[in-house]
């Protein structure tokens, strides 16, 4: 299997991808959204045409808004992000946005998040992320417990974990870039997307590992001596097409969701698309090669 044989090339490629993703995070930074920082998000629609930014800015300043950002959306909308409003600001919000009646506004969407909820959600997100990874590690170690030769089932779990970390870094890096391009912010939906990627991208890894598990068993039953890298490579070759096809069907539906689906889930669909491509890549080009590498290193140690 060429992937196993030339695994160093693929390790290098994977490393490069991961570095680019990390660089993107450091260069562009991650913009935390309202859900995590607290504040106000308003989408205002102007059925009779939106006012000039300057007029709206003056009106907002007069109403007591500070440090806000205003962005044009659709053809007649403004999206306003600001800190938490006082009750008085909230009461006059519609008239403030209407620039005192000059351009009648309709509040299409208003979200306010208090600062304490934001902190709580941030902690919860990290815990959820850690919990999913830990549970998957434990589950794989458990599911593959009968395969302990030549590699312990814990190694299968740990390698799955390494691919998962790769699968998280890539979409996070992508999202940092997306944030730079479109102002997209990290919200609960993004965290949901990452957790879903974790749950799904492990599928392909499980399929390859499962085939390795089966081939190892058959070898044992037949008393066949085969190098582990041969068995692993063969398993990868046998499951290559189905790994791609299972991801392809999901990528099809996600593309449809991105292009046709609701506006509110567009960034979500895009994050999932990137993450699942990364997940499929890592389960083919990273998981099995790593397995073989670990086996080789152990063999060398024994020889010494």
């Amino acid at each position: 299997m060429f992937i196993v044989k030339h695994r160093n090339i693929f390790f290098a490629i994977t490393g490069a991808i991961t570095l680019v993703a990390l660089a993107s995070v450091f260069v562009f930074g991650l913009k935390l959204g309202l859900d995590f920082t607290g504040g106000t998000l308003v989408q205002a629609t102007y059925p009779a045409g939106r006012p000039a930014p300057q007029a709206l800015t003056e009106s907002l300043d007069a109403a007591g808004f500070r440090g806000y950002s205003l962005r044009e959306a659709n053809t007649n909308d403004y999206v306003l992000r600001a800190g938490n409003m006082t009750p008085a600001m909230r009461e006059t919000l519609t008239s403030t946005l209407s620039v005192g009646g000059a351009s009648p506004a309709v509040v299409a969407q208003l979200t306010e998040v208090g600062p304490t909820i934001g902190v709580e959600l941030r902690n919860k997100a990290f815990i959820a992320l850690g919990l999913v990874m830990l549970c998957i590690l434990l589950f794989i170690a458990f599911a593959f417990r009968k395969v302990s030769k030549p590699i312990s089932s814990w190694v299968y779990g740990l390698i799955a974990l390494v691919t998962l970390i790769h699968d998280v870094i890539v979409p996070v890096g992508f999202f940092a870039f997306l944030g730079y391009l479109t102002g997209a912010q990290i919200d609960t939906l993004f965290v949901t997307a990452i957790l879903t990627i974790l749950g799904f991208s492990i599928h392909d890894t499980i399929v390859v590992f499962d085939r390795t598990r089966e081939n190892l068993r058959i070898n044992e039953e037949r008393n066949r001596k085969e190098d582990f890298s041969e068995t692993a490579g063969r398993s990868l070759g046998q499951t290559f097409v189905r790994s791609i096809n299972t991801s392809l069907t999901v990528l099809i539906t996600l593309s449809v969701l991105y292009f046709v689906g609701p506006v509110s889930t567009k960034d979500f669909a895009l994050t999932l698309l990137v993450g699942i491509i990364a997940g499929t890549y890592s389960s083919i080009f990273l998981a099995t090669p790593l397995l073989v590498e670990v086996d080789k290193r152990r063999g060398n140690q024994k020889k010494k």
Binding site: R90, L195, I252, V263
Partner: protein, 473 residues
């Protein structure tokens, strides 16, 4: 590439193993019958039942008798999250206070005529270091945030009423406001403040009473009222519920009324507080609001449905082109999956959000994954020289462990997401989890039943082509 090398050398033990798996499978889906007509009857029953449920789901949507429950982001409406200030509540009374808070708000919201409001309490904040109790109010159809906040935070209506002259006093406890009482000249607006006091009673014990202080306008009205109605019953109502019905003993000229009765110090204190701050058992503070207009929600629903239709169509086409005959059956299984999950949405019922729709569309792509694994395996077994029936049995049996393991990992994610989520994300997690479970069932049992029911012997030629895939002929 390696298969042809591998399979001829598999010995008796693994053949036995394979047939054991196949047997277990046949047994588990209840189609042990070996006769072709039995398999076909079962396939037919599945089809008929599936179409029946599908027709029911469709017609109940079309006629609107049992519509899907839509979350606020799709139906339009307002969600308010409050923090309850429990500083004055001892810890063993927290649950009681929260439930009475919920009841009070619920009554208030219902009074306002909001259809299907949701008022619930939640324990939160454990992860930000400060434990707190929250109140979540969802008001479908209310898209004016300010109005919604005013509605929740409004002070209760305090009314003073006189017992009708001809009314039977013995019925006073069970009376409703309009039956026995007539309105009086004084209203809750005339009240300045209320306080708890202890008065020297007849014996040596002090008696808890609530003292009302009227403003100057109210004092004048109250002086007249009491002067003219000595001996009559006077009722005080909070949001229409009687709280005290004392007898006027004498004219009260100074704008101070004392409500005495069977108060304990606690109940007197509670009444005074209610009159001062509104009838909420604990003060609440607004944490977050979310309002989505009906038009924006409607657009999201429309786009969601379109994405669903296109997504399903594209996946079925892909399966058809790549897997041919089995692909068609995977398409049938997918349709049955969609019918089953939509029926579940109605039955449970699941509140659909934009994230929930995204989960559903995602689940369509994942639902056929089990079929992909099975069909690829089947193809391998066919190439190994097996008959189609054998290949079907082994394809299903051998693909099972990886289908099971990968679906378990998805379920783990769904459960953790459900815990993590705000109400909108919970919608995603629920649909995602349900989708994984139901699709595993349909993708495996349904497509297997149909494949066997067709009874095609793929020994060569055209039927071989039907079972082939991708670019191979």
């Amino acid at each position: 590439m390696y298969e042809s090398l591998l399979y001829p050398v598999i010995g008796f033990r693994s053949t036995l193993y394979r047939s054991k798996i196949a047997f277990a499978w046949a047994y588990s889906v209840g189609i042990l019958g070996s006769h072709m007509w039995q398999k076909r009857a079962i396939a037919l029953v599945i089809l008929i039942v599936g179409s029946g449920i599908g027709w029911y789901v469709y017609s109940s949507q079309a006629s609107g008798t049992r519509p899907f429950k839509l979350g606020l982001d799709l139906s339009g409406g307002t969600q308010l999250v409050y923090r309850a200030d429990l500083a004055a509540i001892t810890s063993n009374n927290v649950a009681d206070s929260m439930s009475s808070l919920r009841d009070t708000i619920e009554r208030r919201v219902n009074l306002f005529g909001v259809s299907e409001p949701i008022v619930q309490t939640e324990h939160g904040g454990t992860l930000s270091g400060t434990s707190e109790e929250r109140l979540i109010v969802e008001l479908p159809g209310i898209t004016d945030t300010q109005k919604a906040i005013a509605l929740i935070g409004q002070t209760p209506v305090l009314e003073f009423r006189m017992l009708k002259k001809d009314a039977d006093v013995s019925n006073i406890a069970s009376s409703t406001i309009n039956e026995l009482f007539e309105s009086s000249a004084i209203t809750g607006k005339d009240l300045k403040s209320a306080e708890l006091q202890f008065q020297g009673g007849v014996g040596s014990l002090n008696e808890a009473v609530v003292v009302l202080h009227f403003n100057s306008e109210g004092a004048k009205i109250f002086a007249n009222l009491t002067k003219n109605n000595v001996g009559r019953y006077f009722g005080m109502f909070l949001d229409g519920v009687p709280i005290s019905t004392p007898v006027i003993r004498e004219a009260i000229p100074d704008g101070t009324a004392v409500i005495s009765g069977n108060f304990t110090p606690e109940s007197a204190k509670e009444l005074a507080r209610n009159l001062n701050y509104g009838a909420l058992p604990v003060p609440i503070e607004l944490l977050s609001t979310q309002t989505v207009s009906g038009t924006l929600g409607g657009e999201a629903v429309r786009d969601g449905i379109m994405a669903g239709l296109w997504g399903v169509g594209a996946v079925i086409l892909f399966m058809l082109f790549w897997y041919r005959l089995p692909g068609v059956l995977a398409g049938v299984a997918l349709m049955l999956y969609i019918i089953a999950i939509l029926a579940l949405f109605q039955l449970i019922p699941v509140t659909l959000t934009a994230a929930g729709i995204a989960a559903f569309i995602l689940s369509v792509g994942m639902a056929v994954d089990a079929n992909v694994l099975i069909f690829e395996r089947m193809k391998e077994e066919l190439r190994g020289g097996k008959s189609s029936t054998e290949a079907i049995h082994d394809g299903f049996g051998r693909a099972w462990p990886s289908i099971r393991d990968s679906n378990i990992s998805s379920m783990i994610t769904a459960v953790i997401l459900f815990w993590f989520g705000t109400s909108l994300i919970k919608g995603f997690a629920l649909v995602f989890g349900l989708g994984v479970l139901v699709s595993m069932l349909t993708a495996i049992t349904v497509s297997r039943t149909f494949l066997l029911a067709l009874g095609i012997k793929a020994r060569g030629g055209f039927s071989r082509f039907l079972f082939g895939s991708g670019t191979t002929l």
